[in-house]
């Protein structure tokens, strides 16, 4: 490691001499160095809008589909059904429909655009401190020795919980946190990554997601019921044949959309109501973390005991702040000019400026070099070991998200292993991926004692390949960073 320190120093000194002779074109550049906001240098795979105020996942195509479906269906309802219903039944119908619609859109936008509870990555010092602690615990390892997976055990309310180390974020994940490989972030109280909402669902936006699907189920039932009422009333009065073709088309569209949505959305709401009342995440339910099948005395340590308190805590609990400070400014690593007096030099100011520029680059380069040096060590093992223990956090596993929509109305899985296995195949083939991403150690660590988990494990064997697909992708980005750093070093 110390090699990395000395080289930049040498490079810095060389650069000092260089830029002293060259034209001072660098200096105005460094003076006007633009201060960036933190969202612009955010390491995860997220998209930011409105100068960092809004945050979404990278793939948002399905989110736009959701918006279109809701807007078109509601629009048709308000345009073609409401006038008739308002005049023939009561104007309360469009009013209630309007309120529901506004609520649905509000919750959808809130769920989609807010930070789900992303954990910022560890600073280099933190990462080094953790590494030291791990080395101290595990002892020094030889070159051919495979270190044990990095876990910490903690006793929470009488239940032993394993905290796993995230190689990407370089932190020990808090309990209930998980790494989303689509967004490449660790998310607190990770529920699932929902493509329909275009974001992860985690601690900070679970209530918005839940209220969205709950209100959407009411809205779809409402629209469905009143469209049918409209058709019946109209046909009673005038007979089917006199209904205009255009209205027919709209009605058919509304009915079809609502019919299929009801099955999936209402089912999903029911599932999440169950999860919320037992204070579990989709992730935990699918893995069967707190299922009694895992063993006697296995219970959920986070539950408050009764379902009312659990629901209230999830919906009305305090809203934690965003930890990633998207709109804050990146602290520039500018050294103090006063401390940089270099004594000799015909143009001391130039030299200071160029020296600062060099400092900056040295600092950046050192960071990249260190990353480059450490990353291969951290990430080479997962690729080599394949399905082995120390898989990188990108391993995607677990059943599909039940928000896959009309095609897969899934209900709470009482046998997590079997449903996991069955649905894994479907997910693999579908374009729309809804992954429950969490680091999953396949073999030695997790002893799947209940037989239900075995089918899951065997299916996993088939899915090592897609898992490994993620490794190169993430490795590529890391290598890219390392290469960028090395190029910078050489340019300095």
């Amino acid at each position: 490691m110390h090699l990395g320190v000395e080289e930049p120093i040498r490079e810095c000194q060389y650069n000092q001499i260089c830029t002293h002779n060259s034209s001072p074109m660098d200096t105005p550049h460094t003076k006007k160095k633009k201060i960036k906001r933190k969202w612009q240098v955010f390491p995860g795979r997220n998209k930011f809008y409105c100068n960092g105020r809004l945050m979404m996942a990278k793939q948002t195509g399905v989110f736009y589909l959701t918006m279109v479906l809701i807007l078109v269906t509601s629009g048709l309802f308000f345009a073609f059904d409401c006038p008739f219903l308002a005049s023939n039944l009561t104007p309360a119908i469009p009013a209630i429909g309007g309120v529901l619609f506004v609520f649905v859109m509000g919750m959808l936008l809130r769920a989609s655009f807010s930070d789900p509870g992303v954990l910022p990555r560890a600073t280099p010092e933190e990462a080094a401190d953790i590494e030291r602690q791990i080395d101290a615990t595990n002892g020094p390892s030889g070159p051919g020795y495979r270190p044990p997976p990095r876990t910490r055990e903690v006793l929470i309310n009488g239940q032993t919980v394993k905290l796993k180390y995230c190689f990407t974020c370089k932190i020990f994940r808090p309990p209930r946190a998980s790494h989303c490989s689509l967004c490449d972030n660790c998310v607190e109280r990770f529920d699932h990554h929902c493509p329909w909402v275009g974001n992860c669902v985690g601690r900070r936006n679970y209530r918005f997601f839940y209220l969205f699907i709950l209100s959407l189920s009411f809205l779809t039932i409402f629209i469905f019921a009143f469209v049918i009422t409209h058709v019946i009333l109209r046909s009673n009065r005038t007979g089917f044949l006199s209904i205009s073709v255009f209205l027919d088309g709209c009605t058919v569209l509304e009915v079809v959309v609502c019919f299929f949505s009801i099955w999936s959305i209402v089912g999903l709401s029911g599932f999440h109501t169950y999860l919320m009342s037992s204070n579990q995440t989709t992730n935990e339910d699918i893995k069967g973390s707190w299922s009694s099948k895992r063993g006697k005395g296995n219970y959920n340590p986070y539950s408050y005991g009764n379902f009312i308190t659990n629901c209230c805590a999830a919906l009305c609990g305090p809203l934690p702040p965003s930890l990633i400070d998207r709109r804050g400014f990146v602290q520039p690593d500018t050294p103090q000019p006063a401390a940089q007096t270099n004594g000799t030099g015909a143009c001391p100011s130039n030299q200071v400026q160029s020296h600062m520029c060099a400092q900056d680059q040295c600092i950046q380069s050192t960071k990249f070099v260190l990353q480059a040096a450490t990353n291969p060590l951290l990430h080479s093992q997962p690729v080599i070991l394949g399905g082995g223990a120390a898989l990188q956090a990108k391993t995607s596993l677990g059943g599909p998200c039940s928000t896959l929509g009309p095609s897969q109305p899934s209900l709470p899985s009482s046998i997590p292993g079997l449903s996991c296995g069955g649905e894994l195949m479907a997910v693999r083939d579908s374009e729309i991926h809804c992954h429950h991403h969490h680091q999953h150690f396949i073999s030695p660590e997790e002893t799947p004692s209940p037989p239900a988990a075995l089918p899951c494990a065997t299916h996993l064997g088939h899915h090592v390949h897609p898992a490994q697909l993620f490794d190169p992708a993430s490795q590529d980005s890391l290598h890219e960073d390392s290469v960028r750093g090395l190029v910078k070093l050489s340019s300095v």
Binding site: V5, M107, L155, I171, C316, P335, H355, T366
Partner: protein, 173 residues
């Protein structure tokens, strides 16, 4: 030639200088960063924000155990207050739900208010207790509420050898 500094200690002090301790000029000018101690989270009570009160050995010679423990306990109390689920949080939650969460454009959440209190408390502790002992606490919110980072400074006059833990850690954050 140029007196280009370049011991690891002197280089490391530079990026940290501006790090939110504007009022502690003396510390910045007269001391250099030697080490950083991290107080990890205590998860025994679940996912509530709570830090371990175990006294780290690196601070043995720098600060009294009771002072340190008092600070951490006070912080834990503040966080517990922020995350408390009770009457006030229910009212806030229901009101927010009814207004489609638009009410938070106007008022601050309780959590934010408590976070401000915490940052004032940390600043006060730094000024009164920690800076005189050559230490500085970083607000946990700046570290994703994962750790309390305590920076240990040494006098410039003393030997420049750092305790070795921090690398040239020049990223500063």
């Amino acid at each position: 030639m140029s007196s280009a500094p370049r011991t690891a200690t002197e280089r490391t002090k530079l990026p940290y200088c501006h790090e939110s301790f504007h009022n502690l000029q003396e510390l910045r000018h007269s001391a250099s960063l030697a080490n950083k101690v991290f107080i990890q989270r205590d998860y025994t009570d679940g996912t509530v924000c709570k830090f371990q009160t175990k006294f780290p050995s690196e601070l043995d010679s720098r600060i009294e155990r009771t002072l340190f423990e008092d600070t951490v306990k006070m912080l834990n109390n503040y966080y517990a207050e922020a995350e408390k689920i009770g009457g006030q949080s229910y009212i806030e939650g229901c009101l927010a739900c009814l207004t489609v969460y638009l009410v938070f454009l106007c008022i601050e959440t309780r959590y934010d208010k408590v976070l401000k209190k915490i940052s004032r408390y940390i600043q006060e502790q730094n000024e009164k207790v920690y800076a005189p002992r050559g230490l500085l606490i970083t607000d946990p919110i700046e570290r994703g509420m994962r750790v309390i980072e305590i920076s240990v400074y040494e006098d410039r006059g003393s030997s420049g050898s750092s305790s070795g833990s921090s690398t040239t850690s020049s990223s500063g954050r």
